[in-house]
């Protein structure tokens, strides 16, 4: 099994059903006196979260800008976030390419050129965003607060893609999460550009959003083909 080698019967021990009858019975048969030692529910966690949240701390702020440019802060924050996301996106496709090179593709799936094209389009977006930030008076090396949060959110996607135990199909299954988020964020930028009356920027955002829409369509198609091929492989074996 090449496409999804994990999709076979093995020795998964995580479920209750994997335990012996005796162990399972003992897990479920807990004497009444061994109950919780404190009252309440998971709401207690919310109480503490709220208390900490009300201290007013944030992950960070934007760098100093002239007063006349303050209105551009939301734009710079989101452009910075897109820029970081696209940089990471280039490295994500690098990792996905290694999976293709390691095990080959599947019928209806991407070839090397397909994945290189997506990677290079992320790179082109990255360059476009660098220029936009510079032209609007911002520093493209700044990690903006939204960039920081989106980096946190995408850590898991990168982890799965770089794990040599995962396949091309597994990789497509997580990179679509990144592509979905990316597409959504470009729509957000289009809306913001319109609100700010920045028509030139809006045109560029729309062009990037259309490219990301194509990415989504392609990745969805490859995922579908991959899952079909994996099922077929399962039947053969």
């Amino acid at each position: 099994m090449r496409i999804q080698p994990s999709l076979r019967v093995g020795h998964n021990r995580t479920g209750l059903s994997a335990a012996s009858d005796e162990q399972r019975r003992r897990m479920l048969d807990v004497p009444r006196e061994l109950g919780p030692t404190s009252r309440g529910s998971s709401d207690e966690i919310a109480r503490v979260r709220i208390r900490y949240a009300r201290t007013g701390m944030s992950v960070g702020t934007m760098p100093e800008v002239p007063r006349a440019q303050r209105g551009l802060l939301p734009l710079h924050d989101l452009l910075g976030a897109r820029l970081q996301f696209e940089r990471t996106g280039v490295r994500m496709y690098d990792a996905l390419l290694s999976k293709l090179d390691a095990h080959g593709g599947f019928s209806g799936g991407p070839d090397r050129g397909d994945l290189e094209q997506l990677r290079d389009e992320e790179l082109a977006h990255m360059r476009m965003l660098e220029h936009m930030l510079e032209e609007t008076g911002a520093d493209p090396t700044v990690v903006t607060p939204t960039a920081d949060l989106q980096s946190m959110a995408t850590r898991g996607v990168s982890d799965v893609l770089m794990d040599p135990r995962t396949t091309l199909l597994d990789g497509l299954g997580v990179i679509i999460m990144a592509e979905l988020a990316d597409h959504e964020e470009w729509i957000g930028l289009i809306d913001l550009g319109r609100d700010l009356g920045r028509n030139t920027l809006v045109h560029s955002f729309q062009s990037a959003q259309l490219t990301e829409e194509e990415h989504l369509i392609k990745v969805r198609r490859w995922l579908h083909a991959g899952r079909m091929a994996a099922r077929a492989e399962l039947e053969i074996h």
Partner: protein, 405 residues
């Protein structure tokens, strides 16, 4: 300002208390906090960690001090928690790694320049160039795996350049041992320096050993394995600088003095008022520990603690960029290796070290792999890629072919 470790009495042990909320305070901001505040947080976590490590080791040899060690250790545990929990969770393990290496570069460079003993100063300069190289390798990893720029952590205080290449840092264990200072003749500053750097390196080693397996990428896992091994060498090196003939109580007193000295240095440089209040409180606690152990030394060994803490401290650790010093050391000493206790041109290293190194690097050299052709650029090396339009596609082109040093 100066620090007189025995005159400033601090807070007595019975008044040193914490609550969980105090220990878990709002963290520093990865984006806004000055990098040197993070450097101080990371270093002080290492200093506290060493205090606990020492306390446990001492207890295994000295049953008569079990109770006293247990009481002080528990306070150190809660001090360490309060300090280490200041690191915010948006610091990835790799972000914090960059912070650890910044500590190893900037703090070691400061210590090397304030070390009164020429031989020990040369040891600090030797280790410094190795941690400097680790920074470069980890920065390449961050760039090439995640498309992220290490300078967002370094805040332009520290260079991202190759140092003594990590691949040639691997040495036979006996070539990592150095000559200890002499407890009777060494300056107090020398003893505090050795303890400080040993603590920092030990914590770095332990951190890499903990987080290395959390990476999925095989090159990342290999790189952490390789650099953790060098950090073990560094602990071996710096630990061997400490006179093993000091009594346990003398060592304990010096540990407490080292903690107080380092918190005092933090107070001297800290601009963030909230964090400064933490350093001031911890300094007072450590001065209380110094009093407690000084009294034990006087009662048990019938020695005046002033024999050990025999000087007023005038030089705090300098928390500022040491770029000029580091570059000078890099130019003059990058080609050194070690033979027994001495530093020699790398070609004169003993056969045992050459054999050990070639055996370890036989299959792969992770540190060379990860940074093949790597040059740091603002906004990651991708910022230097040209986008070339041809046959309807845009292809990245590296700006130049790199070469390994």
């Amino acid at each position: 300002m100066t620090l007189d470790l025995l005159r400033d009495r601090g807070v007595p042990l019975h008044r040193q208390h914490f609550t969980w909320t105090e220990m878990v305070q709002p963290p520093i901001s990865k984006l806004d906090t000055d990098a040197f505040t993070r450097v101080r947080v990371i270093l002080m976590n290492g200093i506290e960690s060493e205090a606990i490590r020492f306390g446990h080791a001492a207890a295994r040899f000295q049953p008569r001090f079990h109770k006293q060690l247990a009481v002080v250790r528990r306070i150190e545990q809660h001090q360490q928690t309060m300090v280490n929990w200041l690191i915010s969770a948006d610091h990835t393990p790799l972000d914090t790694t960059i912070g650890f290496e910044q500590v190893a570069i900037e703090v070691t460079a400061s210590v090397a320049q304030h070390e009164p003993d020429d031989y020990l100063a040369s040891v600090y300069r030797f280790g410094l160039l190795e941690d400097f190289d680790h920074m470069y390798r980890f920065s390449a990893l961050m760039d090439r795996l995640y498309g992220r720029d290490a300078n967002a952590i370094l805040q332009s205080y520290t260079d991202v350049l190759p140092g003594r290449p990590t691949a040639v840092e691997h040495r036979h264990p006996v070539d990592d041992l150095r000559i200890p200072y002499d407890r009777d003749n060494a300056a107090l500053q020398t003893k505090l320096n050795a303890l400080t750097i040993t603590a920092a390196e030990h914590q770095t080693h332990d951190y890499y050993m903990t987080i290395g397996p959390m990476f999925t990428d095989p090159v990342a896992r290999q790189l952490y394995a390789e650099i953790a091994s060098v950090e073990e060498q560094h602990v071996t090196q710096y630990e061997s600088l400490i006179d093993p003939h000091e009594s346990v109580l003398e060592k304990w007193l010096l540990h407490e003095a080292c903690e107080a000295y380092n918190y005092w240095s933090c107070v001297e440089y800290e601009d963030d008022p909230r964090i400064r209040r933490i350093w001031e409180r911890m300094l007072d606690y450590e001065l209380g520990h110094v009093q407690f152990v000084a009294q034990m030394l006087e009662e048990v060994e019938r020695r005046d603690a002033r024999e050990v803490l025999d000087a007023v401290i005038r030089d705090p650790v300098e928390y500022q960029s040491q770029r000029a010093f580091v570059r000078r050391v890099l130019r003059n000493e990058v080609g050194l290796g070690a033979r027994d206790h001495e530093f020699v041109p790398r070609e004169d290293e003993p056969e045992r070290t050459k054999h050990y190194r070639s055996q370890l690097n036989h299959d792969d050299s992770p540190s060379n792999l990860v940074a093949a052709g790597y040059r740091w650029m603002p906004g990651t090396e991708l910022a230097g890629y040209r986008v070339v339009r041809g046959d309807g596609r845009e292809r990245p082109h590296p700006p130049h072919e790199g070469s390994w040093r």
